[in-house]
Subunit: 213 residues, 2 copies
Amino acid sequence: MRVSTEKTKKNRQNDRRAEIIGIAKHLFVENGFAATSMSSVANAVGLTKASLYHHFPGKDDLFAACVTEGLSDELLALRKIAEDSETDPKTRMRAVLEALYETFIFSPAGRMSPLIAEVSRSFPTVARAFHDDYMAPQHEILVQLLDEGVASGRFADIERKVYLHMVFGPIVTLSLTREMFATFEDLDQIFPVETLRDGHIENMLKLIGSSQT
Amino acid sequence: MRVSTEKTKKNRQNDRRAEIIGIAKHLFVENGFAATSMSSVANAVGLTKASLYHHFPGKDDLFAACVTEGLSDELLALRKIAEDSETDPKTRMRAVLEALYETFIFSPAGRMSPLIAEVSRSFPTVARAFHDDYMAPQHEILVQLLDEGVASGRFADIERKVYLHMVFGPIVTLSLTREMFATFEDLDQIFPVETLRDGHIENMLKLIGSSQT
DNA sequence: GTCTATAAGTAGATAGAC
DNA sequence: GTCTATCTACTTATAGAC
């Protein structure tokens, strides 16, 4: 009985924590680190500032939690697509690129980059964690899929880092651009997500279309 | 005589203004908008805060000046490369892409994007100015060069917006990435600028290599 | 765990002397 | 044009009651 009570307590605590992280993540992404005050987070959650400080000892810690937690789900989903060995590599590659667009344009995790850039000098450890726990694994998943396709002769043997550069570059920049020009009424006309995404993906597949060894 | 005195005065004023903008631009790019205080700018220039406010009525105005002024030089240089009709389009395109890497990775103007993203909601007019006076003309220069190559049958008729997406995406993201991970000791190993640049440019030229009409 | 109250510091911005 | 001095508002963070 005691155990179950403790479990419930811990679950409730984690619920609160997760709730705070979810809301704070949204605010950070939307307004930036410096422009997001602990008061505003507390208000949005429906707590006082002091109560918020009960859950997170400082603004840094809250931010670090927002950056590092909840990223593994997306990695898992990406890995699942990339490693489905029933499907041929080209189809999987297309699916992976589409999933990346989904993540970077529409999920908070994918819109973290400008935030990290904003605070990287103040919290180098947060930047390290974001790279090691999120970016590097994503790169690895793509490289493995690429390796597999190259080994079976279906993909051209493109330089790996250049491929990552050309895959992630447009996606991240599109996300950043939508942030920069969020107030534009004609945003979707100037930067039409679907057109850019489809064209980009087609061209990347063309590039690795096993023209050479 | 009076005229020349006034001219000298105005020149000195402009010198001060330009000096402040140069230093402030650097600080904004390096530390972000919110983390750059008017005090820190004043200190860096060697003035007091009050004197700084004599030259710029508010932080917004200083920032807007940093974003909008001094961008035209780079546009001019880019246009010069793109419109040199003596050279064939492919060589010009390569030179233009190299110039873009130079600008975005190493000049403050090219590293403005995360800044704009940080403040876009607060200063939509600044974001508009950055787009209309800097990004859109850059895009136009590239599209014109592309048009010219397509018209003469030297380039494939790639979708213009997709081409811009794939050209600027990797460049901007590389700049952002170097910002994010500025504290990494192994930054140049993880993201080797020359390799990424050369590979990217070669692949873009391959893509528009007039395979189809 | 959540609250009220408040400390300690810093931001942007201004008044007025020189 | 530059200074000293100051104001107001807001920030992160904490103490202690309930």
